[in-house]
Amino acid sequence: MAQAIPAGQKWWSGGKSPFNVEYGKLMMWYFLMSDAFTFGAFLISYGTIRFSSNSWPDPNEVFRAFPLMGGLHLPLVFVSLMTFILIMSSVTMVLAVAAGHAGDQKKVTFYMILTIIGGLMFLGCQAWEWTHLHGEGAWWGRNPFPNINGSKASTNFTNFFFTITGFHGFHVFSGVVINCIMLIKNLRGDFARRGHYLMIEKAGLYWHFVDLVWVFVFTCFYLL
């Protein structure tokens, strides 16, 4: 990470990585690039379809519920909570990486556990939201919500919503699994024996990417 780089370092003269990162980390970056284009393709096709429609359901009408609040009209509140949870778990992940740099095995364990809890909380929120929307009659292929101007909406809205948040939720799930594996490896002392915590960094990159995608999903589905 923040290495001391001598002035006038010749990166391309051979014998060292010209990118000054470890191989696995570089490959994680390139994997995330390709994953970004996958999500980009999803969100941009959503944008294309939305621009090609004369009207579209109003997110403030669709996403207005909050657990245990009954029929209260609370637009954006629940999704704000989900966003906060994900940002928070991203912070604990960076703190785990930071602890790894300091070689502090206990702290890494602590922050990894917090990150995993954050991920599970987010998944729980998403499960609640899906269940709620399914209860209202929304699913792939059916859309109970009218357009914002009161006309009948196509199923494009629900199809895109469930596909994209589902794909993102699956990424969160796999991120939680990866973080659990990292936690177990850390508890076994694998990283301490190895002398570095680069695996935590790589898992961290993936986890931040999940957060990054959520930023765009949040904007595209709930704000725009």
């Binding site: 990162v21 980009g40 403030n60």
Partner: protein, 147 residues
């Protein structure tokens, strides 16, 4: 995994081993702040109808890109890598500029053409439906619309 000599330091390197956590928290507050601003704007718009939606959408997109920048630069630490590395990520990501503009304008053009040549589709947009009940059974795809 063992050939970590490609990087100039390990976790054991004492000179920079102590990771500064202040920028992490600063980034967290920035991200939280931007999200709060977005929510505040959305709430004001819901209550008063001001600012207009298209202005707000532009603001949302700018704020979203700002958040993305902070996550990538600070949390993913890309800003602190060397320039060669940053460029291999940043330059391909520029494709998104074309990607978004091309496809969104394509959708927009499709809507305009269809409204001009398929009046039935335009009329459907003016028909109101009852807000509750019954409509779930009717086929969602309108006849005449290709999707």
């Amino acid at each position: 995994m063992s050939n970590v000599d490609t990087t100039t330091s390990h976790g054991h390197d004492n000179a920079h081993a102590q990771f500064d956590t202040r920028p992490i928290w600063r980034t967290f507050w920035i991200l939280l702040g931007i999200t709060m601003v977005e929510l505040l704007l959305a709430t004001i718009h819901l209550k008063t109808g001001f600012p207009p939606k298209y202005v707000l959408n532009g603001v949302y997109l700018i704020l979203t890109c700002a958040k993305a920048f902070y996550i990538i630069a600070e949390f993913m630490h890309l800003r602190h890598e060397i320039k060669n590395m940053i460029m291999t990520i940043a330059v391909p990501a520029l494709l998104f500029v074309w990607f978004v503009i091309a496809f969104v304008s394509d959708g927009n053009s499709y809507r305009e053409l269809r409204n001009r040549y398929d009046k039935y589709q335009l009329e459907q947009n003016d028909k109101k439906v009852a807000p509750e009940g019954g409509e779930r059974e009717t086929p969602a795809v309108k006849p005449g619309s290709p999707e």
